[in-house]
């Protein structure tokens, strides 16, 4: 067997975390090949997490050169402890067998038996595709690739949870909205037309009062939420008004405007009574639609049309409702029920990280939460330490964003950093109001294509699609990453931006009546 060269690593300037990744892949190799090494007893520690002093989980990590309290080396992937023995790496309950490259004593005699000649410095040109990460592993197998495997396991253990959690959170919201709709619609099902008309009239009156209250509120609700709820309440009021007029008009027609077949066509929607109302409230009110803007407006109509005593009873059974105490311009206070689609956060509660992710994937939630414009700013803040200007942020907003930014690490695809499952891919140009946020479920670095979850239709639907990072074919000598990509990776530890709570399911904030 030819002896391998023990070359010193070439010097290069640090760009992104590519070199750290390279070093990290090589260090376990070096450690395990030290002479006299016993199983389970390494001499180095490796830390992989998303905290400030460390590098990004999943794609890059480095040795701290420390031992743990027992003198054993430990690899950490986020909060997961990775135990390392001579022949296996274990992350949580998952293990991977290590295959020492060559596995010969000849290699173990050489303390630095790593052939660095395979390493290629990353391209320094921004937006061109660096090739270094693909060439880091000597021999293709061996401990460095095992370390990479361990990293992938860690990604699977943590990163891949997010797509599933995102879907689960949306399902919970849809289910809650659907149940709320049924709770409110129960007493409408058997109402005669005259009584239904009265309810629509009552809804118009109640919702007009709601609108006035929201307009007069000076505290107790975020201004952004206040504006959005005013629009929702106005839409609901206009729908109820239209329905009342339509019902009155149809009542004046022979047979109430019904054809002989209409009574046979039972609508699952208690409000879609007759052809005119079906036009307004019709359409399949399934779980997806009921958690969208239409479903929310309809729940408002149902709620506001109830007699006051029934309203109180219904409130106790609703899941997607908050009862904030609003301070009015007059100085008085009033508690107003706010029906929502799982995107109104209970004040004072720390934001759970899965909720943060769900809110960033939903356009409806982003409208009054962290927008794609904010995410661009957060990415730059994480890269450069300062928020960009422009855009001009309100002072309070700047503080909110700084705090929110602590939840993420910025991944720079233009510097060759790779996407990982669970990353948030923000696609937006600063000057354009069209912004998109996807969650990465997979990434093919050769094709430069990412599998993403697209929830751009709010709570209605989550689609899976392929997002190419470049328009250049794989065989092109230079492949340019499309502009406007900002990748954010959630830190795997609690931080100022969000908290992890295993006891709290992803959408726990939407459960129960938040008063």
């Amino acid at each position: 067997m030819p002896a391998r060269a023990c070359k010193k690593p070439p010097r290069w300037h640090w760009r992104g975390s590519v070199l750290v990744a390279a070093a990290a892949l090589l260090l376990p190799y070096a450690a395990l090949t030290e002479p006299g090494l016993k199983a389970g007893a390494l001499t180095r520690s490796f830390y992989v997490d998303g905290s400030d002093r460390q590098v990004n989980r999943g794609t890059s990590f480095r040795s701290e050169g420390e031992l743990d309290e027992n003198g054993n080396p430990v690899v950490r992937v986020g909060e997961a402890r990775v135990s390392v023995s001579r022949d296996q790496l274990t992350v949580g309950s998952k293990s991977v067998l290590l295959e020492p490259a060559g596995g010969t004593g000849e290699q173990q005699e050489c303390d630095q038996n790593i052939d660095y000649s395979d390493l290629t410095a990353p391209e320094s040109t921004a937006r061109s595709l660096p090739t270094a990460p693909d060439k880091v592993v000597p021999g293709g197998k061996g401990l460095p690739s095992a370390a990479r495997e361990a990293t992938l396991i860690a990604s699977e253990a943590e990163g891949l949870e997010w797509p599933a959690r995102g879907r689960e959170a949306q399902r919970e919201i849809q289910e809650a909205a659907f149940q709320d709709y049924r709770v409110l619609g129960d007493s409408y099902a058997q109402l005669p037309a005259g009584a239904l008309g009265e309810r629509f009239e009552r809804a118009v009156q109640t919702l007009s009062e709601h609108f006035e209250t929201l307009s007069a509120a000076t505290a107790g609700l975020e201004p952004a939420d206040r504006t959005r709820f005013r629009n929702t309440v106005l839409n609901a009021r206009d729908k109820a008004s239209w329905a009342a007029q339509t019902l009155a008009r149809e009542a004046a027609l022979p047979n109430g405007g019904l054809t002989p077949f209409d009574p046979l066509l039972k609508s699952p929607d208690p409000l879609a009574r007759g052809p005119g109302l079906a036009e307004v409230f019709g359409g399949p009110m399934g779980r997806r639609r009921v958690a969208g803007p239409d479903g929310l407006a309809d729940r408002y109509v149902l709620y506001a049309g109830l007699p006051e005593t029934e309203r109180e009873k219904a409130l106790a059974r609703l899941r997607l409702v908050q009862l904030p105490e609003l301070t009015l311009r007059s100085g008085g206070k009033r508690t107003l029920p706010l029906l929502h689609n799982g995107d109104l956060r209970a004040p004072g509660k720390p934001l759970e990280c899965s909720q943060l992710v769900s809110s960033l994937l939903s356009v409806d939630a982003r409208k009054t939460g962290i927008t794609s414009l904010d995410l661009m700013a957060i990415w730059r803040y994480r890269k450069r330490g300062v928020l960009p200007d422009p855009p001009k942020f309100e002072p309070a907003r700047r503080e909110q964003l700084r705090k929110a930014a602590d939840a993420f690490n910025a991944i720079d695809v233009y510097a060759g950093e790779k996407l990982a499952a669970g990353d948030l891919l923000v696609y937006r140009q600063g000057w354009d109001p069209l912004g998109y946020v996807y969650m990465v479920t997979s990434y093919n670095p050769k094709l430069m294509k990412a599998g993403v979850l697209d929830a751009s239709q709010g709570s209605k639907e989550v689609r899976e699609r392929v997002f190419p990072l470049t328009a250049d074919p794989p065989e092109a000598s230079q492949r340019f990453v499309r502009p406007g990509l900002h990748v954010l990776r959630l830190k795997p530890v609690s931080n100022q931006g969000c908290v992890y709570s295993d006891a709290t399911p992803p959408a726990a904030g939407v459960k129960g009546v938040e008063r």
């Binding site: 201004p223 952004a224 504006t227 959005r228 629009n231 929702t232 106005l234 839409n235 206009d238 729908k239 239209w242 036009e279 307004v280 359409g283 639609r289 969208g292 803007p293 239409d294 407006a297 356009v363 409806d364 982003r366 409208k367 009054t368 927008t371 794609s372 414009l373 904010d374 422009p390 855009p391 001009k392 942020f393 309100e394 907003r397 600063g430 000057w431 354009d432 109001p433 069209l434 912004g435 751009s456 239709q457 709010g458």
Partner: protein
């Protein structure tokens, strides 16, 4: 004069919308009773100006006034000081209506503002007559950005 009265009334009602004056919020309509394409565009722009497209276009409204399969979905918007709906070009069941906006900024509901260049933006709406009603076909929902009036959306 009697023949002109309905036109004058319609002109009064639509005038503010067409010229983008700060009226009250445009009320929701779920039935398209407009007979001219520019009325449909004026209604859409007025709803948009009040923030109703940004906050979430309703399905009934989308079906009545557009051929879109999904509503526009954006978390930020342009902010305009005024807008003007220009006269339509109509031919063989299709119409083009341009709307000229004077933009102030790009921003979001939190008060974040970003300068825009150029300040004038012209949106060309293409409409088709479907089932006796003019409906917006283009721009497509995913291509259109909400544009709210600074005076209305507060």
């Amino acid at each position: 004069m009697r023949k002109l009265l309905p036109l004058l009334v319609a002109g009064f009602l639509l005038g503010g919308v067409v010229l983008g004056e700060p009226l009250m919020h445009e009320r929701l309509r779920v039935k398209n009773t407009f007979t001219r394409p520019e009325e449909v565009v004026a209604y859409y722009c007025s709803r948009d100006a009040s923030g109703f497209i940004w906050s979430g276009m309703l399905d009934a409204e989308r079906r009545a006034f557009t051929l879109w399969e999904d509503p526009p979905q954006q978390d930020t918007f342009f902010i305009a000081s005024k807008y003007e709906v220009l006269p339509p070009e109509v031919a063989a069941g299709e119409a083009r209506v341009q709307v000229r906006y004077l933009l102030v900024a790009l921003g979001d509901i939190h008060g974040t503002r970003m300068p825009v260049h150029p300040e004038e933006r012209v949106v060309t709406f293409q409409l088709k007559k479907t089932g006796g009603s003019w409906k917006i076909a283009r721009p497509e929902a995913r291509e259109i950005a909400p544009i709210v009036l600074d005076a209305k959306f507060r």
